[in-house]
Subunit: 468 residues, 2 copies
């Protein structure tokens, strides 16, 4: 492995290879994740071009040395951990916007481009890349985990926004999966094969992303409910109505209580009802937003309602208020993390189920956590049947950690019983390999494994991830 | 091969195997396509269940006999032709709706289900499957060609509406690619690998399709332009505006002339301007349609316009008129086919390019056809940068057929120069294998081939398609 690193330094230059222990540690361990591995890469290398990446692959492939691609380090299932050591390939210096085609509504970017920067850069064109994972995330990682976020309800997931990928395969071969049409039925969908493959089939060195027109205007509304079931039922009504909301999120009573107690000053301008709450985002023209808002209000409070106390839909009155309301949703994970007691960590997981089952699994998960006596809260992309549970546990208490792990496992099993998935948006990494077998069965995993062997026969691309 | 057929009859029953010459001919040759092969299957077999299909595969795999899946027979690139003979697997009897989950907005169907029947069956739920290829098409073929149609501008292509597939692999192994959540990041996207693989990786025996809410209301408008360029420029303005049209189609002057001369009585109620014409479909609430229509009218006729003769947007005044206007678009291919002179055939092809290049390639294609002195006309999914050219040629004139073939080839090359694709929605089949290499390069095709060999090492699944 060290010889491979030395050889890479000869081709890319000494500056492109780093052996610093702190750097290796930063690239091999995540504070955000409970799925870490004790393994560390022997070096971090910094390519600047597809050719550099191809050279790295040829060298590592020749020596059967593992390569682990690294983006922003914000993934949470150990997706970039290095259980088999090897060379960590950091795409920080491949952060260029290669070509912007506003008339075609697409943009060609290197994998190190951060999506927030990208959207700021192109905002004046009236276009944007709609996926909104962690604000630190970069395109390479977004592609490789098939990320999503709150915009997924309206815009789908990352797989729906990638027109083509340039990929360096394990042996250094460079392929481009598609050209640049918005639609094609030409041959196998290799783009989709690499999206969500977590870097186990090759390294993405360029991506062409479809862009969407920015809505002329947006607005936000919040509405509390007496129970998770009532909130989920209302969400189903809204989804079935065909009203095209820009986002439809849920936060549970615990999360709402945290807003009041620990939210940022912006968020604490308002006193929040400590009840399960739906967060709705509207997008369109001012007229269409007004019409959508009125339809939502009517659906939530039917004129023939016999409910004594109909849910109170609060619609932002100003742009500023809309931003403040949405901030409450966006800050939730950071707030949770910042209020951890000393020596406590957060176990964050995500599953997705058919939407009619969401209320049931959220309620069940909350009861499970409650029985454990740990602090846990739920935020969810209710419009997609996808939710996150964050559980705080004492790292000094091995029994508690084990109990939390078992609780997460039961949550996966419950999601599968409901024909759901063990990972709505975080991927499998090293953390959920066993659950993936439970989800799809050995035969389907065998097909994945055959594809893996066909594309990477030496098993050098991000080994140990997705499946055993 | 005949022994395999006999063995299948033993397991599935004599009724499930057919050797009738007319049936074999119907399953091996398409009137709609210029990509035919002289090969014919030795038998057509009719499974009724996933187990039947698995039995067929085990038998054929054991004897290394080709299997060619057959749906409605409406594909046009020779996708179901049998150049290597073998067994044709007809899914006509697997036409059941297995489970309808209105609350989850999905439906589980067998591959022989026709999409028009499906949508009629579930219409009262307020949901529909939005892909609209040939009205005869069935789900298995729609999945296998990654079909689309006029609704693709609003709803994407087939790949965006398949939640999971049950697939029988070459050796009879049965896998299910996903469970039933609307969103997942769990493992390789096997669903996307089989969608658009044209039956070369396995046979789809069940599909779970996402459904969309039916728009409350729809409307249609048409607007003629002096040139293809003017029409395409207007289309780009509409796309960039963010107005969410339900469809955005173009028909050229030739097509419009055909409507006047040969359209159905419904279509001929109106005298059509014989100019390139955009067909717009609106969907939503009556209010949102009114708002969208007004925005479209304003965009097409800016108040500061210096155009002496602004384009005349004609908006349907009644439901009936909307249906009549749209019928003109939907009937175009059938009308073209029905007016062929004796001994003439139609060569129909489709390509897609980045949307800014669409006007240029349509104008170029029309000039090429014009130079050949043949009748050719264009209809296009302009919102996707995708268009169809239909060229009529005399089958008795070998030189003319060859010239048309060369013209189609040049059209592919032109699309590729523009970073487009050689197939927007029909697939590759046997007709476009060479062009696919031109589009993606040998290295990318090599990856497809490696995947094919990994999943179907004996090469028995629909051999000779997609790539050599």
């Amino acid at each position: 492995m060290l010889r491979a690193a030395e050889e890479i330094a000869k081709v890319l230059g000494e500056d492109a290879v780093c052996y610093d222990a702190d750097v290796l540690e930063h690239h091999g361990h995540s504070e955000w994740s409970t799925s870490n591995s004790p393994g560390r890469a022997v070096a971090v290398v910094y390519p600047k071009s597809t050719e550099d990446v191809s050279a790295i692959a040829r060298i590592c492939h020749g020596r059967s040395v593992p390569m682990v691609p690294f983006g922003a380090g914000s993934s949470v299932e150990g997706n970039f951990s290095q259980p088999h050591s090897g060379i960590c390939v950091d795409f920080s210096y491949m952060d260029k916007i290669v070509a912007f085609h506003p008339d075609d509504m697409d943009v060609v970017v290197q994998p190190g481009v951060n999506w927030v920067n990208l959207n700021n850069h192109i905002a004046s064109s009236g276009l944007f890349a709609p996926m909104d994972p962690s604000p630190t995330a970069t395109v390479g990682g977004m592609v490789s985990t098939n990320c999503s976020g709150t915009n997924a309800f309206r815009y789908g997931t990352m797989k729906d926004w990638v027109l083509n990928l340039t990929v360096v395969l394990a042996d250094g071969t460079v392929i481009k999966t598609r050209r640049r049409p918005r639609k094609t039925s030409a041959g196998y969908n290799l783009t989709a094969l690499f999206v969500g493959a977590e870097g186990t089939l090759g390294m993405v060195t360029e991506a062409t992303l479809k862009l969407a027109p920015l809505p002329q205007d947006t607005s936000v509304a919040v509405v509390p409910f007496p129970s998770i079931h009532a909130a989920a039922a209302a969400a189903t009504t809204l989804i079935r109505s065909g009203i095209q909301l820009a986002a439809l999120e849920i936060m549970d009573d615990q999360q709402m209580a945290i807003l009041n107690a620990h939210g940022s000053p912006t968020v604490r301008k308002r006193h929040w009802a400590e009840q399960p709450t739906l967060f709705l985002k509207f997008g369109g023209t001012p007229d269409s937003i007004a019409a959508d808002t009125a339809r939502v209000a009517a659906l939530l409070t039917p004129s023939n309602s016999t409910t004594p106390d109909p849910p109170a839909l609060h619609i932002a009155r100003t742009k500023e208020e809309a931003a403040d309301l949405w901030a409450a949703r966006k800050e939730s994970l950071f707030t949770m993390t910042s209020i951890r007691p000393p020596a406590h960590e957060m176990w964050s997981t995500d599953v997705a189920v058919p939407i009619s089952r969401l209320a049931e699994i959220i309620a069940w998960s909350k009861a499970e956590c409650s029985a454990l006596g740990i602090f846990a809260s739920v935020v969810g992309h209710v419009g997609d049947g996808n939710f996150h549970v964050a559980m705080t546990y004492d790292t000094r208490d091995a029994a508690q950690k084990e109990a939390v792990g078992k609780c997460v496992k039961r949550m996966m099993e419950k999601a599968l019983e409901m024909e759901g998935t063990v990972s709505g948006e975080h991927g499998i990494g090293i953390g959920k390999k066993g659950c993936l077998v439970d989800e799809l069965g050995e035969e389907a995993i065998a097909v994945m494994r055959r594809v893996k062997r066909a594309v990477d026969p030496r098993g050098v691309m991000n080994p140990g991830k997705v499946f055993h």
